[in-house]
Point group: C2
Chain length 257, copies 2
């Protein structure tokens, strides 16, 4: 009996195998600042579908985020990579990246404006079901999607992948309306224990619907194949990368019902 099930499922997989990927850069604005994002969706899917905003790590929008967008497109989502820094502002070294990221980490109000602009751009897309929207972010992008939530933005959920969890305004947790999933490298040296504890208390005090997953053996940047360990404390971890991706998919399955 189970064999018949397997055959049907296999047939179903073959029939739905044709993808029709559509990608494009998208110029948009926040105030007077021109931003350049990246859109991806799979035209083999029909009708409105959930939208996922992707926020980049400290080097700015790179092919890393574009690849994640393509992966999400093939899962049936409209994916939009936000640009936090500005069109043509793409750090060329970790030093430049640190300078850029610090601008926004020390001006959370501006960071919230920038990421909300990306969310608005995503929601404008006619293929996006505005009632099923999430945001994911990597590293600096993880911090950013948490700030998106702290701004009281209207979306279903956020996922931070090895994002910085510190906050100059922990009371802002009370603004969070969406569900929160934090994927954290258990050995991430960039996350001070006191910041992690403060984050948990922020979530707790504000009765946020939150979950935090610690991946043993993983440090910072665990989802990024180019993180080769040359920057101490930041290294790709295939196991944690695959698991956190599955955890995100499961989270989407729940929040997009």
């Amino acid at each position: 009996m189970k064999k018949i099930t397997t055959l049907f499922l296999a047939a179903a997989c073959v029939i739905s195998a044709e993808a029709k990927l559509v990608t494009k850069t998208v110029e948009y604005k926040q105030g007077d600042t021109t931003l350049e994002g990246y859109l991806a969706y799979d035209d083999a899917f029909s009708g409105q579908r959930p939208g996922v905003l992707i926020v980049h790590q400290w080097m700015g929008l790179t092919d890393y985020e574009e690849n994640r967008a393509v992966m999400l497109a093939h899962l049936g989502y409209v994916a939009f990579c936000a640009d936090i820094y500005g069109k043509d502002v793409r750090p060329q070294s970790t030093k430049e990246a640190g300078t850029e990221a610090t601008k926004y980490k020390t001006d959370r109000a501006l960071l919230r404006l920038r990421v909300n602009a990306g969310l608005d751009e995503l929601k404008k897309n006619e293929l996006v079901d505005p009632k099923r929207v999430a945001a994911i972010g990597y590293c600096f992008g993880g911090t950013t999607v948490i700030e998106l939530a702290r701004s009281g933005a209207d979306l279903n959920g956020i996922v931070s992948f090895h994002g910085g969890l510190d906050s100059p305004a922990p009371a802002d947790g009370r603004n969070i309306k969406c569900k929160v999933l934090v994927c954290h490298g258990a050995d991430d040296p960039f996350e001070k224990p006191e910041d992690l504890a403060a984050f948990e208390n922020e979530m707790r005090s504000a009765n946020v619907d939150w979950r935090l997953i610690k991946y043993g053996g993983a440090v910072h940047s665990f989802t990024q194949p180019t993180a080769d360990g040359s920057l101490p404390g930041a290294k790709y971890n295939e196991r944690a990368d695959k698991r956190s991706w599955q955890d995100m998919k499961q989270f989407f399955g729940e929040i997009f019902q």
Copy 2:
């Protein structure tokens, strides 16, 4: 095109809907002690399949664990509820439960013998693929499955649901061969922060493949519908229950490949 896929999948679901549940109590031994466990599997599945050992909370083996066994049976596993306390040793109050559980928490060597006896009994079952075995435990049972791992037992993985994470012998983490998933209520008052930190360090020091998930808003016993809050700090949390069950299923999907 996607509509054809949907029809095939729907047809597949109808064909595989017939379950043939088989359950029975099973007497077995550890040393001179007679134990009584509970076995469940679904005869609609054919051939060998993964086995899952279930270890009870402090009240002993009850219908709670039996229900979990039935749920696992319908997912295609052979489920065996271990008996740690002994045949006919079934606490009738939380006071008796505390006394029983303490016997084993203060004699981890005996606890390891008892749970290994349950694992052996599960593996003996001809329907169980001995290369695909896991153990899950609730509360006292969570502590127990971690002790099973610390005994160096040969199985693919363990899942602790709101288990006590303290250990009198943290160096024993070095014996752990299997993968470890800990599902923890973020507001569980029964878990001292120092024990949680010590557990993480044990896993870290021994290079265990571990993951810890904190469910915001959940306290102790979050998977148990009868935990109504009359015992302070122990209360059912439907959201955390459903999510942790999904997390376990996802974990099984990975470890049973």
